[in-house]
């Protein structure tokens, strides 16, 4: 079996948001819709303070509450773990948005553009009416992964088959791969480092793993 996941090395991430912008480009999302973004968290009290940059987005949960609540089956989970949305079925009820404990989902009802009133050439070119009024979120760049698989490429290794945020990451904080394959890049990292997952206690089985210390 295959289970796609992202490993985010918190020791590496610098909060530059290059991944955020790369995703905005790759998925042509409207202003403010960030399938990937990186939080700036502060821990502790002066002078004993730490600052941590935390990439977040859809966790492509093992037991996705968003899928469970979806009344239309627009949200599905594929055999390889990807949680997908069919924009042609989704009615935009917003139920999945409140069901997701990771605030990963967006719904935009009206066309919005970077420079307010008017769409730029690239916004016009890539405007996708199907996304209005329906739920959207990180796709794990499913189109790239599927393209790669169809062309004998390895997602997470070959850039054409790898999510845009992972490709763009300056610090190599983000790694994409198959956690079911013990020899994969992500499995290796998960063996070499201690990791946690966000809100794991909620039973969602999230698939972004955060590395925080190397295994000694």
């Amino acid at each position: 079996m295959t289970k796609w996941a992202i490993v985010a090395d918190l020791g590496r991430c610098v909060g530059c948001q290059t991944c955020t912008t790369a995703c905005r480009h790759a998925n042509a999302t409207p202003p403010g819709v960030q399938y990937r973004k990186v939080l700036d968290m502060e821990v502790g009290t002066y002078p004993d303070v730490r600052r941590v940059f935390v990439p977040v987005g859809c966790m492509h949960c093992d037991e996705p509450p968003c899928r469970d609540v979806c009344p239309t089956t627009a949200t599905k989970k594929r055999a390889d773990g990807m949680v997908t949305i069919d924009y042609d079925i989704c009615i935009g009820c917003g139920y999945c948005i409140v069901a997701c404990p990771y605030q990963a989902r967006y719904k935009v009802s009206k066309p919005t553009f970077a420079f307010k009133g008017e769409a730029t050439a690239n916004e016009t070119k890539r405007f996708d009416e199907r996304l209005l009024g329906v739920a959207q979120k990180c796709t794990f760049c499913v189109d790239r992964v599927d393209y790669g698989l169809a062309n004998n490429l390895t997602p997470g290794i070959d850039p054409e088959a790898t999510p845009a945020c992972v490709n763009a990451c300056l610090s190599k904080a983000l790694t994409f791969g198959d956690t079911d394959n013990p020899d994969s890049n992500v499995s290796t990292l998960l063996r070499q480092y201690k990791s946690f997952r966000m809100h794991e206690e909620l039973g969602t089985g999230p698939n972004i793993h955060y590395l925080w210390e190397s295994e000694d």
Partner: protein, 305 residues
Amino acid sequence: MTNEPEVGMRHLGLAPWLQTAWDLRAAGNFVGGGSGTGLLIITSLGAFGGLYSRGAILVGLVLVGLGLFSVFLEIGRPLRAMNVLLGGKRSWMTREAFVAAVLFPLGTAALVYPDLAKLIWVPALAYLYCQARILEASKGIPTWRSPLILPLILTTGLAEGAGILLVLAPMAFDSATPPDWAASALIAALAARIFVWMTYRRRMVAGEAPVEAAAVLVAFSAPFTLGGNIIPVVMVIGAGLEPSIAVAALAAAGLAAMAGGWMLKVTIVTKAAQNQGFAIKHSPARGAGEPGPGIKPGWTDSSNT
């Protein structure tokens, strides 16, 4: 729009913030559906005691219908609304729609065939249960996903239903006074509701909800307890002690109980509806440095260790 906090001061979007996906329109579904089915359940059960009120059934159905219409206004793609029926395998929203498909024909039929009134409670209760489960399945909103949301939605639905029955009594029943058990039903439902509420509130404040959501619940608690529960009970008792004001007092009691329930749902759905926020279990080691504690901003136990 998006479910982001306002642009500007965005770095604050770490702690749970108020969800904006469901607003008053969605709350309307829980208000209408809860009150409507509550009324239908009470009325239907009353049928076993000989009660038959077309008015009550009609009002119940209309309330449920208005609720559905209200939520219809919220969806992004109303033309595809019928797709709501596709998710029966998992979604309580689909199941609610299925039940509605039974409830409305049955309720309508009961307007013509009084005997059918005795059956209405089944789909009505199922509908109410679906609503409770809809909230409970919203894992992203800590105040909704609490298991206590189930009894809370059920008891408040019944309390609202009983309350509305008392309000309708002067118009809907020949006697102008509701059956004796109606007031008792209201008291019972209120007692159950307040008990569940207190437990729910306590658990939310004790750390099951984000600080901000708990604060909303705390602020809501006194007016709700008093206005929505204690005052109606006092009025019911007053009505028993002073028959001259009974009709008015019972109607007022019913109204207060109903209004309390409505406010409860509006509060939970649109005000105490902070999402989960973000948290980390550990701060990372940076290079050869030491790792540190995690953090869960916006929660009582914000250290998340």
